[in-house]
């Protein structure tokens, strides 16, 4: 052993201690041995079954098991029985199955986007004409709506030769001085009145460009 000479004395003493230690008391050893044997017997009962199962698995089946060919036949028969049962169930419940398929098929139609009515052209400015718009009602006008009258349409309905009611539509009046619009011709771009300065700007930069309010 790898000891220094000065340690040899300690090692020799340890060897003597090893030989002088007490042994297992015989009665205690016998009792412990019996307990161990009982545990072994109890465990052997459980492990015997496990071992037998393990052997069966290793050997691919013992005397109590059917041969592999019979197992394959049983497997095929089981699959056929399952398929047949599923078919019978589907036949008797075919209405429900059809309903389910229809509901699934129609669910996608709900998600279709309906196009908004009345949109005829992407360029509405090109359809503006100077003549009043004539709205043609197909069919007879039997009763007028009693709701809030539309300004400019009440009493203006005329019946043409085809029995259709025509309503002359009034466009937005052209602003002018006669209508009392105070010079507002509808074109407000660049005509916003410039706000009056309420505080003198003594320190600010010189304002050479008075501007017209259109910044």
């Amino acid at each position: 052993m790898e000891f220094e000479p000065k340690d040899q004395e300690v090692v020799d003493l340890l060897a003597k201690v090893k030989n002088t230690n007490g042994g297992y008391p015989p009665e205690m050893l016998a009792s412990r041995r019996q307990t161990y044997l009982n545990q072994m017997a109890g465990m052997g009962l459980g492990t015997g079954i496990g071992t037998a199962l393990k052997n069966v698995a290793k050997n691919g089946g013992g005397a109590g098991f059917t041969p592999p060919s019979a197992g394959a036949l049983l497997e095929v028969a089981l699959v056929v029985a399952i398929v047949a049962e599923a078919g019978v169930l589907a036949y008797f419940n075919r209405d429900k199955v059809v309903d389910i398929f229809r509901s699934v098929a129609t669910d996608s139609n709900v998600q279709d986007v309906a196009s908004p009515p009345g949109v005829t052209s992407p360029f509405p400015d090109l359809e503006i004409s100077g003549s009043p718009i004539t709205v043609n009602f197909t069919g007879t006008v039997s009763e007028l709506p009693t709701g809030t009258p539309i300004p400019g349409t009440t009493g203006d309905q005329t019946i043409n030769n085809n029995g259709e009611a025509t309503v002359p539509a009034n466009s937005t009046p052209i602003p002018n001085e006669e209508n009392g619009n105070n010079g507002n011709n509808g074109n407000h771009y660049g005509q916003t009145p410039r706000p009056e300065r309420t505080k003198e700007n003594n320190n600010g930069p010189p304002n050479d460009n008075p501007g017209n309010g259109n910044h």
Binding site: V10, L13, V17, K18, G22, Y24, M40, T51
Partner: protein
């Protein structure tokens, strides 16, 4: 008697004869080892029972030692002793060994008395001066004759670490014996 490998192989197959042979072969040694670590014969006996019960469970589960059955049994005993010492805060004295020696059926001569004094001093130093790891290593190496590698496996440390622990433990014992011898001389 079957050799270790054949015995272990038969025991793994839950052969009753092999399992019984293992108990008969190792139970006294495990008892001595645990008795060195814990000063109670009942506790040592219980640990022996636990060690072999665990061995049976491992074999039944298809586990257990693969090569070194002796190291495996000592390792199980070591862990059980450590667990018990943590629970009860026992510091594993070796009083039983001293008591057994004192009850020896022989009439000691002068040299035997001196030797006995030295051994008592050594055992006392092992109980008081060594750390837990040093005591375990010293016992496994010099009282149970395990190699450095086996001791490392049982305790769960590296071999180099075991060497360091062993050398420090021996140095402590040497120092303690020197002090005792000085006191005896006085």
């Amino acid at each position: 008697m079957r050799d270790g490998v054949a015995l272990l192989k038969a025991a793994k197959n839950l052969d009753e004869e092999a399992l019984t042979a293992i108990f008969d072969q190792f139970a006294p040694a495990i008892y001595k080892y645990t008795l060195r670590l814990c000063h109670d014969q009942i506790v040592a006996d219980n640990i022996v029972g636990d060690v072999f019960a665990q061995l049976l469970e491992q074999f039944a589960a298809g586990k257990g030692p693969r090569t070194n059955l002796r190291s495996y049994l000592y390792q199980t005993a070591y862990h059980l002793v450590v667990d018990r010492s943590r629970d009860s805060q026992h510091n594993a004295p070796l009083e039983i060994a001293v008591g057994t020696y004192e009850k020896g059926q022989f009439s000691p001569t002068q040299s035997q008395i001196e030797e006995r004094v030295m051994m008592e001093a050594l055992i006392s130093a092992m109980n008081t001066d060594l750390t837990e790891d040093q005591r375990h290593v010293i016992i496994l190496r010099f009282l149970e004759d395990f190699s450095l590698k086996e001791t490392a496996e049982i305790i769960g440390k590296e071999v180099n670490n075991i060497k360091v622990i062993q050398n420090r433990g021996i140095a402590k014992l040497r120092k303690a014996l020197g002090l005792h011898m000085d006191e005896e001389e006085k």
